[in-house]
Chain length 338, copies 2
């Protein structure tokens, strides 16, 4: 049963385990540094479908199906799936999993969705609410650009601060069984809004939320950055990552720079894949990085303690047009060796 | 700690309580049969804002603020808020509550959001994950029409099967303290898709999901419709309600007609308010009906056992244009006298 540490952090004494995980990705992500870590690369971004939205549902379902299979169970065994995505009304997930018959608790955390879904799933497992919970999310570059920014056909210029929405999906099966990694603590974030209005600079909008959650967590757990092998944000990109490290020092007097990594900076080689700008983003980015390279390194014993902090910008295309600022949230999950 | 009953239902032995609830609504809802039950009526649908979206955020925040105040606590006391809405990227809730500093777990269940948020909140309370959890949602006729169907200015004809998205918000505070109603059981629904493609007939799309969840719940709990004072769906409207009762008999051989009520049929007097078509809909409809009339009647002892089944159609404006069918989900919460 979860135990509260400090004001915001939950300790999960039973240490729910990730018994299966999978990540699938598109061609560009396959060409990135983690290409060989993904379970499957879709060379064709349409996944054989007639629309980008339908393609996203296909890759979402694929990641869920693979994770469940790798956990050695079947969809009928799953008690609940916590899933969501960036598409309007979360159709990437709902249409992707609609035929699977798993009780569906829809969640929304923008690009923080993988962390939120893992937090929700692991709390349920630790509370013995259920035996097998699935956490999943996805994003698709083409469906996201069309929805949040410009139609692809417009060929709009990208600013240097803009991030590249990953075409990718990730899923993890959380259970109390034998596992590949354990979830020891979780923290649900508080919304931060520093007045950033530029939808092409999500890193700047999300950095304050990451700062808030990391500071809350370290204070609640009475730990320091050096107690972790990695504090992994997803996805601040280069601009947001720099801002986060600065904010952590200026606001909180905590230096995380020696252990900080960012999923948005891991999924592409921005020096070669120049169009990826400040790095990757999108729900699928941190989901695919976590559910491939990171969990594998935890499973192998290479990483022992990873504090994964999903970051989400909570704006919409409409709120941007209405000159609203961009609220952001960051949820955290502490992963440890199995 | 929750106990599983059958395959899908959770019994919450500690019976989490609703210690405060509030509903605010627009002018048309104020003129309906429940007008006097709402905490506040916004005569001006803009709520003094420059856009319908901003207005929805205002009414969302208002409902949350009132519910928290009526529970006798302050926002700083709240450990978590489970909130979501129909707007793209759930900005009704995120922008509404962004300044409140409450840890935010975003959820998405379309019009089933009130039931999903109550289910999530009560599971956390029963598992002693936290002491005070808020559940909330909202919808606005004008923001929803613009987003899902036609710009209001277009003056499109409405079909008789179409439902009227309520301008309303509802919120409930769930805790283990002294309470006005208790949450005894919850069920997370499974997505159903019967191939309905008409976005002007949401009742038909959602009825199968309600049927699935009600049948699962009755089987899991080994109960009959007559064991309940009310099986309250939200929001099937007249078309969906008739279909639900038919489906329950034909598919499940269960007659719920004597105890079935629908929030969409309670919020308007469709015989007088003729433009409301087949009845109300939108996240705010069932939220406002539940968090006013229904919870008050439970508090007064008039109703002892209400099985509230929120129904949500999981399509988007884009999926409709892409000729997709409409998946739906229904989540259930059993409310009993305090």
């Amino acid at each position: 049963m979860p135990v509260r540490l400090g004001r915001y952090t939950l300790l999960l004494p039973s240490m729910p385990g990730i018994s299966g995980y999978a990540a699938v990705a598109g061609k560009k992500e396959g060409e990135g540094p983690l290409g060989s870590a993904f379970d499957y690369i879709y060379e064709d971004g349409t996944a054989g479908e007639k629309s980008w939205e339908k393609a996203e549902s296909i890759i979402h379902r694929d990641a869920v199906t693979r994770a469940i299979s790798k956990a050695g169970v079947s969809p009928q065994d799953a008690d609940v799936i916590f899933a969501g995505d960036l598409l309007n009304q979360c159709t990437g997930s709902t249409f992707g999993i609609r035929d699977m018959g798993i009780p569906f608790a829809g969640i929304y955390g923008a690009c923080s969705t993988m962390a939120l879904s893992l937090a929700m799933a692991s709390v349920w497992i630790d509370s013995r609410v259920c035996d097998i919970a699935v956490a999943s999310t996805s994003s698709h570059f083409c469906s996201a650009e069309k929805q949040f920014r410009m139609p692809l056909e417009y060929g709009g210029q990208r600013t240097p601060t803009s991030q590249w929405t990953a075409t990718a999906a990730g899923a993890a099966v959380v259970s109390k069984n034998e596992c590949k990694a354990k979830i020891e603590k979780v923290i649900v974030g508080r919304i931060q809004d520093y007045g950033i209005k530029d939808p092409n600079n999500m890193g700047a909008a999300m950095a304050p939320a990451a700062c808030r959650t990391i500071a809350d967590f370290l204070r609640d757990t009475n730990t320091n950055p050096s107690d972790y092998d990695m504090i992994l944000t997803g996805d601040l990109g280069s601009v947001g990552s720099e801002l986060l490290c600065e904010l952590m020092i200026k606001q909180e007097n905590i230096d995380i720079s020696s252990v900080h990594e960012d999923c948005g900076l891991m999924i592409y080689d921005t020096s070669v894949q120049k169009d990826t700008g400040a790095g990757g983003s999108g729900c699928g980015c941190s989901a695919a990085v976590l559910c491939s390279d990171i969990l594998r390194r935890i499973e192998n014993g290479e990483l022992k303690k990873v504090f994964f902090v999903g970051t989400g910008a909570l704006m919409s295309g409409i709120s941007t047009l209405q000159s609203e600022s961009i609220p952001a949230v960051a949820h955290g999950v502490l992963l440890t060796g199995g």
